[in-house]
């Protein structure tokens, strides 16, 4: 992982003065999740006029948080939750929006704003949909306005969804906590009451068995570590050539190493056989393995194009078919269903020069995820994708210095994310509490300025 010396400097007393005087970006040290830490360190204010705000306030009280409906002047708050569930036309936005606005200067570093609203797509009435879309717009813009590592995200509820659904609690907790440190300007949707709340929020994956592909290094190794920390038993997979680092990952997370080329026809079956032999169950599959073979399309050769498509999307499609054909990848009714989480990329959303093949594969992942949710729903499972933006890895450390420096600052948090930021989001989507969220692609990009 490359050192971000600028961020280190900007967080020294001199660096703070200088960057402020010169109007330079001021990347903050982000609050990240530590087991045992409170969801947020200080008061949480819940604003809004509908019933959802009351339900959320009661929920937060069960987590022993300092919950307020109002805030004293100059008091620091850790989070503001703005509930827009009662709006029916854009004119209704103002009360809650402006109420939220008055508190923003009191939001602490690495604070959180979460807007909560009903799904715009569910509204056929033009005024209603306009109002709901309006919340999206204000949330995205507010995310750009947040300072000192604070973020703004939306929690989008299906039309008639009970605000007491497990994934409302799970999603809210994820967005408030340090797990979502590098997620900003994004929308987490909750479609159903599926999902199970964990007995211990620090060990939500206790007893579960997870497979992570491409786990020898980088983001994949970090995913394995975070899933392990959250209680999962790990099967880590990578190509035989990466076996030495894969073994090191397996030994760090007390898991088992499976050397396997995921483009093999029987890769899914071999993963299932390994899980059956060593654990007798399989709950979570994280399709992280991916490659880049960048070239302008005009200069693209078949080897580059085909290998990227084969590894990044065709292999996932084939493995999913095998997984969904096998009863091992299923759980008894009443428990949390199986989870698939795939790695997409902001390149697949916004496009990237030189990455037609990569973007095709990653946009493909998003399509696959959206189209597969019905199949997973049949076994009370979910499938989602996570699209990382600029993440500090061995791979991005090889980007020339100036390009890397620019890429790092091109987001609302003015810094690159860490592999564990991606891993935290994956761990949430893989958790029992996230059972109501499926078919979604969630970006972990610090609200990258490039792309949607």
């Amino acid at each position: 992982m490359a050192r971000d010396t600028y961020t280190e400097f900007a967080n020294t007393p001199l660096g703070r003065r200088l960057t402020s005087a010169l109007g330079l970006p001021q990347p903050a040290r982000l609050r990240r999740h530590r087991p045992g830490a409170p969801v947020v360190p200080g008061p949480v204010v819940v604003v809004g006029t509908g019933t959802v705000s009351d339900e959320i306030a009661s929920l937060l009280l069960t987590w022993d948080l300092d919950v307020r409906r109002h805030v004293e002047p100059r008091e620091r708050v850790s989070a503001v939750i703005a509930c827009f569930d009662a709006i029916s036309t854009p004119a209704d936005l103002s009360e809650t929006a402006l109420g939220l606005g008055r508190m923003l200067k009191q939001v602490a570093p690495s604070g959180r704003v979460v807007t909560v609203f009903r799904s715009p797509d569910a509204a056929s009435d033009p005024a209603l949909r306009a109002a709901r879309k309006g919340v999206e717009g204000l949330t995205r813009s507010l995310a750009h306005e947040m300072r000192a590592g604070a973020t703004a995200n939306g929690l989008v509820l299906a039309e008639d969804l009970d605000a007491g659904a497990p994934s409302v609690a799970g999603g809210l907790r994820f967005l408030l906590s340090g797990r979502s440190a590098f997620v900003s300007g994004q929308f987490l949707t909750v479609d159903s009451v599926n999902g199970v709340l964990p007995g211990d929020w620090d060990r939500p994956l206790e007893g579960q068995v997870a497979v992570v592909t491409g786990a020898a290094r980088g983001i994949g190794a970090s995913i394995a570590e975070v899933l392990h920390r959250d209680g999962a038993q790990l099967i880590v997979v990578d190509v035989p050539a990466a076996g030495e680092q894969l073994a090191a990952t397996a030994n760090r997370v007390s898991g088992t190493a499976l050397q396997l080329d995921i483009t093999a026809d029987d890769a899914g079956e071999r993963i299932l056989a390994h899980a059956r032999q060593h654990y007798g169950r399989l709950d979570i599959v994280v399709h992280n393995a991916g490659i880049t073979r960048d070239k302008l399309l005009a200069n693209m050769d078949p080897a580059r194009w085909d290998s990227v498509i084969a590894v990044n999307i065709e292999a996932q499609l084939r493995m999913n078919r095998a997984l969904l054909a096998d009863d091992l990848f299923n759980r008894p009714e009443g428990t949390s269903g199986p989870r698939i989480v795939s790695l997409a990329s902001t390149s697949g959303i916004a496009g990237n020069r030189g990455q037609t093949n990569y973007a095709a594969s990653k946009a493909g992942v998003m399509g696959m995820v959206a189209a597969s949710s019905a199949q997973l729903e049949a076994r009370h499972g979910t499938i989602n994708a996570v699209a990382p933006g600029f993440i500090e890895t061995e791979m991005t450390a090889k980007i020339p210095f100036a390009t890397r420096e620019v890429a790092r600052r091109l987001n609302s948090l003015n810094q690159g994310g860490r592999p564990d930021d991606v891993a935290e989001t994956i761990a949430y989507l893989a958790s029992p509490a996230a059972g109501g969220t499926s078919g979604l692609t969630l970006r972990v990009c610090g609200q990258n300025l490039v792309g949607a």
């Binding site: 035989p240 990466a242 030495e244 007390s254 898991g255 190493a257």
Partner: protein, 440 residues
């Protein structure tokens, strides 16, 4: 006959049970002074064990015993295996034993662990081996050593000076560790050349065996056979000695390397003899109960093994022919013949070693006269011999070869319950080990 009645084959007074081979791991073997030139025995063995721990999720587990060793070993590595274990995530309460039996070190480590498991003394064991030619200890001459020891014993500076004054320039030449037989002064290759000549082993058949070894090993790698047997080390992914593109023509052009005094009749070249190699291997064994309790695979049963030694010093028998004798005793004890075996893994110290052993087992006179049998032990079908390659292609880091063979054969037998596999490994000092695995 494909199954064995082990209760009648072995007379015993204690309850015994099946020992299963759970799996193995090795690092790719590398030609000496190549990719692993800067790696120590301990580095390689630790890496081999780490890969095994990772493959089977053994982190934090106390293994009953880890036995292994190295042939080329410095005295400072008196606890080589224990030190390596301490470098892995295994429970530090895992005991370890250093074993040495020349090229059969790995086999002896595995066989003795199997016996302990069979007797119920331990539930699990790891048999391991490592060797490095690149990191071999350099020793000083005996004369210099005696002077230094005398200086060390000196009580006064004067005595010490007097001792050290005896050092002469000739004492200072370092001595590389010898691989020659101490009692004959002959290299192993020269010994083998005598045996090969006596058995009339031809150049062509040796080259064919070498070529098959390379082709079989390359095919096994290409098929992914080694995906769960080998973990890369220092960026090396396949055995560096492997020459997939070798041909009989190329092999045929090489000049003899051993037995040159035989002139036209010399047959042993650098290609049909194993190269000096660095590498490490490890095999996980356990009782069937242990494997079951830990959700681990059971590839094969470790049925039996047998040591043998021959009197090679005065030329009564070939240096590397001990496995011929071990096989006879082991097969008789188990009521088996070669007809009963599905696969044969005969360590290719030299192509001619394999061919001489096979010739001996087919030879009426040898089997009657030397082995005391009524009839030859039988033919070994070449299509069942070393079918995924052996030491000529993979290389032969002495103590690591046993682990390579046991893990490979166990995987071949997996899913073939009752099918038998035969192992033969020759060793310096006129010794050797044979073993039987049975598929599960």
């Amino acid at each position: 006959m494909t199954t064995i009645d082990r209760t009648s084959a072995q007379t015993r007074t204690v309850q015994t049970r099946d020992v299963v081979v759970i799996g193995g791991n090795r690092i790719p073997f590398a030609r000496a002074h190549g990719a692993y030139a800067t790696a120590s025995n301990q580095d390689m063995l630790t890496s081999g064990l780490n890969g095994l721990v990772a493959r089977f999720g053994l982190q934090g587990q106390r293994i009953g015993s880890v036995a292994g060793g190295a042939v080329m070993k410095h005295s400072k590595n008196f606890n080589l295996v224990r030190e390596s274990v301490l470098g892995t995530p295994l429970d530090p309460a895992t005991p370890a034993t250093d074993v040495q039996m020349a090229c059969a070190t790995g086999m002896e480590a595995i066989g003795s662990l199997a016996d302990k498991i069979r007797l119920g003394r331990i539930e699990s064991g790891i048999g391991a081996g490592v060797d490095s030619i690149s990191d071999a200890p350099i020793v000083v001459t005996d004369a210099l050593r005696r002077i230094l020891m005398e200086a060390n014993r000196a009580k006064t500076p004067g005595q010490r000076l007097k001792a050290l004054a005896k050092i002469r320039p000739g004492h200072l030449a370092p001595q590389a560790p010898g691989v020659n037989e101490p009692r004959t002064g002959m290299s192993m290759g020269e010994h083998m050349a005598v045996t090969a000549h006596a058995w009339g082993i031809g150049r062509q058949e040796q080259d064919e065996l070498a070529l098959a070894s390379h082709q079989n090993l390359a095919a096994a790698y290409d098929d992914g056979f080694f995906d769960d047997l080998v973990t890369p080390f220092k960026g090396v992914q396949r055995d560096t000695n492997l020459r997939a593109d070798s041909t009989l023509e190329k092999l045929g052009k090489l000049a003899p390397a051993f037995g040159r005094d035989l002139g036209e009749e010399a047959t042993m070249t650098a290609a049909n003899s194993t190269a000096l190699t660095d590498g490490a291997s490890a095999v996980l064994l356990g009782s069937a109960d242990y494997a079951e309790a830990h959700d681990l695979p059971q590839l094969a049963t470790f049925v039996d093994y047998e040591q043998a030694a021959v009197d090679f010093v005065d030329g009564a028998e070939g240096l590397l022919m001990a496995p011929a004798y071990a096989a006879a005793r082991m097969l008789e004890r188990n009521g088996l013949t070669f007809e009963d075996f599905e696969y044969f893994e005969i360590h290719e110290a030299f192509a001619s070693t394999v061919l001489a052993q096979i010739a001996a087992w087919e030879d009426e006179e040898f089997c009657r006269g030397k082995l005391g049998l009524d009839a030859p032990l039988g033919r070994i079908d070449r299509s069942r011999l070393n079918i995924h390659g052996s030491s000529l292609a993979a290389g032969h880091p002495f103590a690591a070869t046993g682990g390579r063979i046991v893990a490979t054969l166990a995987k071949m037998l997996h899913g073939k319950p009752g099918k038998l596999g035969f192992i033969s490994v020759c060793a310096a000092g006129g010794q050797g080990i044979t073993a039987i695995l049975e598929g599960r």
